[in-house]
């Protein structure tokens, strides 16, 4: 017999749990606003479903990967921003799987030269990849 042990926990675990709870609530609220039928796109490497979801004041595209459970809710400008990308942006994202390519703490402003700024040497080309 031994005294009841303190459950083991990693540092920051409670913060993770709170964030996960918030994400779960957010996800449920988005699904509650789902409109129309989901679309599924899949190949031998990946599978995602895409749904139009209405929030109280607008709408987003809910993109979900059923296998990992990860999801993202994109607004129109984020989707438009995809149309500006070349394959290299996606290569970089795919090359760093399951987490954000750019740390959230940077708020998207990366000044070490690794992210191109508007007006740089590379010019935009019309059309797709």
């Amino acid at each position: 017999m031994s005294a009841p042990r303190e459950p083991l926990s990693w540092e920051g675990e409670d913060v993770d749990a709170a964030a996960a709870r918030r994400a779960a609530l957010e996800h449920a609220a988005l699904l509650a606003g789902a409109r129309g039928e989901p679309l599924t796109i899949a190949n031998e490497f990946a599978e995602v479903t895409v749904r139009l979801v209405d929030t109280r004041n607008g709408s987003r595209l809910l993109v979900e990967a059923p296998k990992s459970g990860q999801w993202v809710a994109l607004d129109p400008m984020q989707v438009e921003a995809l149309t500006w990308q070349g394959t290299a942006t996606f290569s970089a994202m795919i090359g760093n799987p399951f987490g954000p390519l750019i740390p959230e703490a940077s708020a998207g402003v990366v000044t070490d030269g690794s992210v191109r700024e508007g007006g740089g040497p590379e010019t935009l080309e019309g059309g797709s990849q």
């Binding site: 913060v15 993770d16 990860q70 607004d75 508007g118 740089g120």
Partner: protein
């Protein structure tokens, strides 16, 4: 500017110089001394329920984007682009993770932080010329919420919201916290009336006296069971902290019976019994008073009434939140929301909304009756004769300032503040006394904020960062979403 000392002294003894309801100089003073420091309502959390949801609301001429950012944080950004000052959001409501200025395309995250300037390198020399780090849409100088009600103050040194509201919070709960989930809002309907903003605020604060006269027709057609003259005076008015309001006296019965009498189904009654404090329940159950209209200084009002709906004798309660947004000395934009307990049954929500539309909102019968008076009053207050007239706002006090009716004792009225039955203008005087207090205080020193200074963010000329400006880090931000 004309010295207003005389005006203030008159107001303090309950004699209102008629021109304060239509006077450009007084309105200028109100801008500088009332709306520059008071906590002003800008919306409810339920109006921006999900990340990215936003509404655009004003405090006088200042437009704010009131939004829930991607992390769930509620923010109010001054709706002016840091570049040339274009309005960033022009739609009144929407959902966006980022805002993009329509003029030259500067873009901002919905937490306010700037992310991009087109041709940043070519035009500004990149980060060396214009550092994006720390630059953000200006946050409202102060932001706080109570029961999901979002308020901003233009004074960075304003006292905390809870302190400002004071004991009025006790009464605010009846309107905004009938269950653990709080209220949800529909609207607002928004329209302009040619009336001074103070008139509506005073009316909702305590004018039980106008009900039998102004709203006669509503009683005559049988829409409303209560406002017969002899019944209205049995109600109590109360003033506590930043606000006050009116109540109706309920027939004999216990708490449950009385809440059902105004039309609450038992399941809602049960949730109120869990949610409200013993004293809050005693005001209804023991003292027999049910809250009706109320105002919070300076320009926010509430109404809770229970008209007949459908053909039967059954009544059903509704709640409306309304704001008297000043446009000028003789014009007010009315914002009128329908509010309902989020946990109420769907059928109740639908009928309650119908009850609201019959009574208030741009087509509501009470609204129509009221506004006719307020427009006429404002119009008449513009001329030279009005400058010679001191309106008598002394109902409820004798010549020696002794009250006509003593306040109710703690056993007769369990709420905080001062309450009494019968017709009086104690509340209107309390509201205008706060107004006089503000008019007497020197204006809040407006701080200027510099855009684009290296790494400074929003800092005023005294080196202060506004509370939100320094608060860039968001807890849990680095945690990957799962």
């Amino acid at each position: 500017m004309t010295d207003q000392t005389g005006v203030i002294a008159d107001v303090r003894r309950g004699m209102i110089p008629a021109h304060v309801y239509n006077d450009r100089e007084v309105f200028e003073l109100e801008k500088q001394r009332v709306f520059s420091r008071a906590w002003v309502f800008v919306g409810h959390e339920s109006e921006i329920a999900q990340p990215g949801d936003y509404v655009v609301r004003r405090v006088l001429e200042d437009s704010f984007i009131v939004t829930r950012d991607e992390q769930g944080e509620i923010r109010a950004h001054f709706n002016m682009c840091l570049h040339r000052g274009m309005q960033v959001c022009r739609a009144e409501v929407g959902n966006a993770s980022h805002f993009r200025c329509p003029y030259h395309g500067w873009s901002y995250r919905n937490d306010g932080r700037i992310v991009g300037l087109p041709f940043h390198k070519d035009a500004y020399g990149g980060e060396a010329g214009f550092a994006r780090k720390g630059q953000r849409l200006l946050p409202a100088p102060n932001l706080a919420t109570y029961n999901g009600m979002i308020f901003v103050s233009m004074d960075p040194e304003a006292p905390p919201l809870e302190e400002f509201l004071g004991d009025f919070r006790f009464y605010l709960d009846y309107y905004t916290k009938q269950s653990a989930s709080g209220i949800e809002l529909r609207g607002p309907q928004r329209w302009r009336v040619k009336a001074n903003w103070k008139i509506g605020a005073e009316n909702f604060a305590g004018d039980m006296y106008h009900t039998p006269q102004t709203h006669t027709s509503v009683v005559e057609i049988g829409l409303f069971r209560e406002p017969k003259a002899e019944k209205r005076k049995d109600g109590a008015t109360y003033w506590a902290g930043a606000g006050g309001g009116t109540t109706y006296k309920l027939p004999d019965g216990d708490l449950d019976q009385r809440l059902r009498y105004v039309g609450y189904p038992q399941e809602m009654v049960d949730r109120m019994k869990e949610q409200l404090s013993p004293e809050q329940l005693q005001v209804i159950g023991d003292d027999g008073f049910m809250i009706s209209a109320a105002s919070v200084y300076p320009n926010l009002s509430f109404v809770h009434n229970w008209p007949r709906v459908a053909e039967s004798d059954d009544v059903l309660p509704f709640i409306s939140i309304r704001q008297w947004q000043p446009i000028s000395e003789d014009e007010t934009e009315v914002l009128s929301w329908f509010a309902v307990d989020a946990e109420a049954p769907e059928e109740f929500k639908a009928l309650s909304y119908k009850a609201y539309l019959m009574c208030f909102g741009s087509t509501g019968m009470f609204e129509q009756d009221d506004v006719e008076n307020w427009v006429s009053l404002t119009n008449t207050a513009a001329g030279s004769m009005a400058r010679r007239l001191l309106l008598n706002s002394r109902m409820g006090i004798l010549e020696d300032d002794e009250p006509v009716t003593p306040p109710l004792g703690p056993d007769a009225f369990h709420g905080p503040g001062e309450a009494r039955t019968g017709y009086s203008e104690h509340n209107q005087r309390a509201l205008l006394n706060r107004w006089a207090d503000d008019l007497e205080r020197p204006p809040v020193r407006a701080a200027t904020l510099t855009v684009g200074a290296q790494g400074s963010g929003a800092v005023d000329d005294q080196g202060r960062t506004s509370p939100q400006a320094s608060d860039v880090e968001v807890p849990g931000e680095a945690v990957a979403q799962a």
